[in-house]
Point group: C2
Chain length 204, copies 2
DNA sequence: ACATGGTTTAACCAAGTGGTTAACAAATGT
DNA sequence: ACATTTGTTAACCACTTGGTTAAACCATGT
């Protein structure tokens, strides 16, 4: 069972690397720690991934490939804006509870190295706003929603959904909430955020 | 002029440390790089600040002390919620343009070490939501705004204002905007974000 | 049985890392 | 004038870092 074993090790490495890189970042992560977590020799990391940088890139791309479909649900789905806002808000908050480090990891590493996203831009499935722009224009023309640019609306949707997870420690301190109370607040947001957005843009 | 010279060196160190720590984070920053930027010997860093950790804490507290008053403008000012939202949104975006690394730095380091904010919580001027909670309750009771918890409203205000700077590289990629176009979008937000929030919560 | 190929390991390495030291320079107090 | 304190430097140190190497291991094909 050469191939089975081999595949297993490679996956074990990636899984350990994910865990370490996503919680400590590129600079804070140590190859030795990843090896320990994977239960293998440090040399194996280099055998399978050549360098810290390449291992990191594998982890980053993997993380990004989880986030991208979520955003495409807003940008490329065919339902109405209202439906998309409601679905996304509900789904995203559930999604992130399973991957709590993900948004922070992506944002942090992209700020450390903004050019890095260019590598990813031509992979297919990369979120792009063009289709959403047309939809917003049409719904405004039809009087369904108030005038707003697609960019601003998209930023607002992202901000309201993602930020509470990214800034969790900060918000917890300001609002005097513990982990349990915070979880409840996030749960409420599954519907409240959608209402907040739709309240603001919908014509009545 | 011992004191003058001495003060000058200390400030030079702090200024260099700010620049390095805020762009590279605790883990990515190198003491040698900070010394070089300050134009002094590496040993001086330890002479004035003992350790990397303490120098970092000085930088962090300094950064936090810049951000806190901004948030207190929302939480503790006496004007109406609508006025506060309009003022904050306009002021904050201007403020952050002068300190672009600041929100990211604080958020990133707080996620790396969430207990760290506890040190800061009992310094006076630390943003606290209690007064704001009362104000929200009153304005709801008076029929000025629709029902919403103070926590949710506060999170929404922070999210809409801060997130676009934190996630800048990500948003730029998705919306196909360059630095100049992005700056323009941020400028529009000075009023648009306030309208967006008020539209959503105001009774009419 | 044996050669072959990929897999795994322990030991190693050069280049940094934060931090210290001891000597020197400059200012201050007396 | 001289001793003392404070500021500054170059050289150094122990330790960690990512990465390499050469030898061993082990499943397979012949």
């Amino acid at each position: 069972m050469k191939k089975a074993k081999d595949k297993n090790t490679e996956e074990q490495i990636l899984s350990a690397a994910k865990s370490i890189f996503q919680s400590k970042g590129m600079d804070g992560a140590r190859m030795q720690e990843i090896a320990d977590k994977a239960g293998i020799n440090k040399a194996m990391l280099h055998y399978y991934y050549r360098s810290k940088q390449l291992l990191f890139e594998a982890v980053f791309k993997n993380a990004f490939s989880l986030l991208a479909p979520q955003l495409n649900a807003i940008l490329n789905d065919d339902s109405s804006i209202e439906e998309k806002v409601r679905n996304f808000t509900s789904n995203y908050i559930t999604f992130i509870s399973k991957h709590p480090y993900l948004p922070n990891f992506i944002i942090q590493e992209l700020n450390r190295n903004p050019e890095f996203i260019l590598n990813m831009k031509d992979t297919n499935g990369f979120p792009n706003i063009e289709k959403f722009k047309k939809q917003v224009a049409i719904e405004i023309e039809n009087g369904l929603i108030k005038p707003i640019t697609a960019e601003q609306l998209f930023i607002n949707i992202m901000a309201l959904n993602i930020f509470p997870f990214v800034a969790k420690p900060l918000i917890m301190a300001f609002t005097n909430t513990d982990a349990i109370a915070y979880k409840k607040i996030m749960d409420s947001r599954k519907t409240e955020v959608a209402d907040f957005i739709i309240n603001s843009i919908k014509n009545n």
